[in-house]
């Protein structure tokens, strides 16, 4: 096969096909740069998800503990404090210890492990003496004229009972505490109240 002089210069000046090494290096570099914020967002999302999971677990645990405590008959926990020793458990929690034996009570629950959350919990029961503002009327006057309330001998509102009534209304406070390796000590507390009600 012979190469004619007319074909030789054409093959030397054929336009380049494909990508040059420089183009590929620049393209890969650009893509790598584009990935940087995505990696950042992914990292933040993992951290955020873990934080949310911690919060949700703590909320559920506090709710479980508080609802369990509220199911006990009124004053049962404080009156048995320091006594023969209870046999109940709180939501599968471990045994607890009393801090005080009269009036206000603190129960230390745990350590507890719920999912990946390792925590301790505390239940505080505090007596809040009650008094109400009650508008008083005169039953005899009401009986004599039952159609006109203004003639029922209303004597204005009084604070009753005259002395605040203890041991009828308790505040329940549950505090869940755990340690976060990145953010340090964390806690979540939940409060409710329970009254001495007649069935």
């Amino acid at each position: 096969m012979s190469i004619t002089p007319s074909t030789l210069p054409q093959s030397r000046h054929r336009p380049p096909r494909g990508f040059t090494l420089t183009e590929i290096v620049l393209a890969v570099g650009l893509l790598a740069l584009a990935f940087l914020p995505i990696i950042g967002v992914m990292g933040a999302s993992v951290e955020g998800t873990q934080k949310d999971e911690e919060i949700i677990t703590a909320v559920h645990l506090a709710q479980t503990l508080l609802n369990t405590a509220l199911q006990f008959p009124f004053n049962e926990l404080p009156t048995k404090a320091g006594g023969a020793g209870p046999t109940w458990t709180f939501g599968g929690a471990t045994a607890f210890t009393y801090k005080s034996s009269v009036g206000n009570l603190t129960l230390n629950l745990g350590p507890l492990t719920v999912g990946r959350l390792n925590c301790t919990a505390e239940l505080q029961i505090t007596d809040l003496p009650v008094q109400f503002r009650v508008p008083l009327y005169t039953p005899a006057m009401k009986a004599s004229d039952s159609t006109d309330p203004t003639k029922w001998g209303w004597s204005g509102s009084l604070n009753l009972p005259k002395v605040q009534l203890p041991n009828h209304y308790h505040r329940y406070l549950v505090i869940v505490r755990w340690a976060d390796p990145r953010r340090g000590p964390r806690f979540y507390s939940l409060a409710s109240f329970k009254a001495r009600l007649v069935d």
Partner: protein, 161 residues
């Protein structure tokens, strides 16, 4: 056709697409955060309201005659006595309660008994008492939230002989 620079153009297009994905994902994360906080806030205010409703029931059980008289007065066109019994009692309000707090939220929640009403009119028989509590607080994002928690209990009037 000259194909110089095509790889760069393609890389730029991919970069823009990836950035858009990142922005969309970040938006999704921001949207999921308030949901966790709503769950946490709901647990707080619901338990607080239930506790205050318990106190209203205690008041009713301690002073039922006054409630029934005030209720009867309301039926006869005089709501002021029931207002005095329910709304004007500062003991049936929890303003700016902040004991239920945490390291991630610290908002104060206000709870107040909003109404006590008999749902039935069968005097001296089984009746239903409806107690409603209003809850209000400001979320971390600055949004005002108002909720109403309702509890209905059965009560029975008895004649003391």
């Amino acid at each position: 056709m000259n194909k110089r620079g095509t790889a760069l153009v393609m890389a730029l297009i991919f970069s823009v697409l990836l950035l858009q994905m990142a922005i969309a994902y970040s938006g999704m994360l921001r949207a999921s955060k308030p949901q966790t906080m709503q769950l946490e806030e709901a647990a707080k205010y619901d338990l607080l309201a239930q506790g205050l409703i318990d106190k209203a029931i205690l008041k009713f059980q301690l002073y039922p005659g006054e409630f029934y008289a005030a209720w009867q007065a309301l039926k006869l066109g005089h709501p002021e006595y029931l207002t005095e019994y329910v709304l004007n009692d500062p003991n049936l309000r929890l303003p700016d309660f902040d004991l239920a707090s945490s390291t991630f939220t610290g908002q104060k929640i206000s709870v107040a008994i909003a109404s006590m009403a008999l749902l039935t009119d069968s005097h001296w028989n089984q009746e239903a008492l409806r107690i409603a509590a209003n809850v209000s607080y400001v979320t971390q994002t600055g949004k005002n939230v108002d909720k109403t928690i309702v509890k209905i209990i059965s009560v029975k009037r008895e004649v003391v002989k």
